[in-house]
Assembly symmetry: C2
Homo-oligomer: 218 residues x 2
Amino acid sequence: MHSFTEENYLKAIYHLSEGNMEAVSTNQIAEMTNTKAASVTDMLKKLAEKKLINYIKYQGVTLTNTGVNAAVNIIRKHRLWEVFLVEKLGFKWDEVHDIAEELEHINSDTLVNRLDDFLGNPVADPHGDPIPDRSGLIKHKKLVKISDMQTGESGTVSGVSEHSSIFLKLLEKMGLTLGTKIIISELIEFDGSIMLTIDQKTERTISREVAKNILVIL
Amino acid sequence: MHSFTEENYLKAIYHLSEGNMEAVSTNQIAEMTNTKAASVTDMLKKLAEKKLINYIKYQGVTLTNTGVNAAVNIIRKHRLWEVFLVEKLGFKWDEVHDIAEELEHINSDTLVNRLDDFLGNPVADPHGDPIPDRSGLIKHKKLVKISDMQTGESGTVSGVSEHSSIFLKLLEKMGLTLGTKIIISELIEFDGSIMLTIDQKTERTISREVAKNILVIL
DNA sequence: TAATTTGTTTAGATTAATCTAAAAATTTGT
DNA sequence: ACAAATTTTTAGATTAATCTAAACAAATTA
């Protein structure tokens, strides 16, 4: 198995290369892992040695298949534990990240699979992020940022692209939690903010910055 | 907080000083933690520096109050996770120790207390060991080894003093799990083995070695 | 009680992960 | 295309946890 630290690097590289399939840079990894570039370089050599990443000096890195598998497995654990914390222990969606960050490193396939079953094989975590199944497969939904929607369009809030507690608490307060139905009632030209109807009842205006981080299924 | 490693030393010292309230020796700790005596000495200095143990060169160690609290808290977590694994995830009592050994180091009081409530505030783990409450209090039951019982005496199996998977599986096979009622039917002089009636039905003979490790409430 | 055995500590290395400062490579801007 | 700026890597230290071998202390035993 890989060390706690190695796992965190793999996860960081995975997240950084999601979306844009490009190589990830040393500095990006350093920022994500709260370390210095020099430390990252050292670790990259080690991970390359173990064939978990493809690394060429000065050219950035990509995960190998083995590396992707390892990363996906950690993410699976992280998200399952988040579901557990919210569904079974009554935590709020903004409280679970740090604890899951620790739990994700517990090593036991049996444990993860039994937890998965115990939770009823959930397909998404409390923030709407998809949970890889036991073979590592991830079912991505087609999600759209509210900031990309047009007047009159409607959809269901199904994810967020910002996971900070402060942002999640804000959504909670505004009634924009997962599952909420919204209709865009007006795009305000002046500052780009967006007026929408929540659950056919409440009218609300949200800033462009907030709208960019809420993901919706049309 | 204390490191993973420090926590394991505290736990080892706690377990070694249970029962006999004497100071614990360097070698005892080395054996329990699978390290060498020299490494233990180093760590003892560190723990003494942090006022978690009372340490005098060549004289062994005892835990300070702070040290006891830290150790009890780890044990509380370990035993609660064991209950979770057995009661909620369907693990057998001989399968949970190693996983709980990892889970016990997860750091969050809220998590532990919510887990405790979720499990219905259990008083004992799957092996019958008492679970400290959130203030650190441990309710010890008066348990007797089967090997110390007399012919005609009866009791309920309520604990074990040997936690190895091989031993627990054996008890399972013999029907001597927790809650089982037994009556001593005969003490066999020849080899010290003991004949007993299980749940008013089955007659069985167990070796003195096995009998020594089964604990009973009279 | 002196000698031997056993147990513990010190000294000096090692490994993993990190850092700072300096050197080297790459990218950018004119 | 070359100089400047940025990014990445190397070099050399540091910290936590561990080890082996040697020195030292305590307990045992003859």
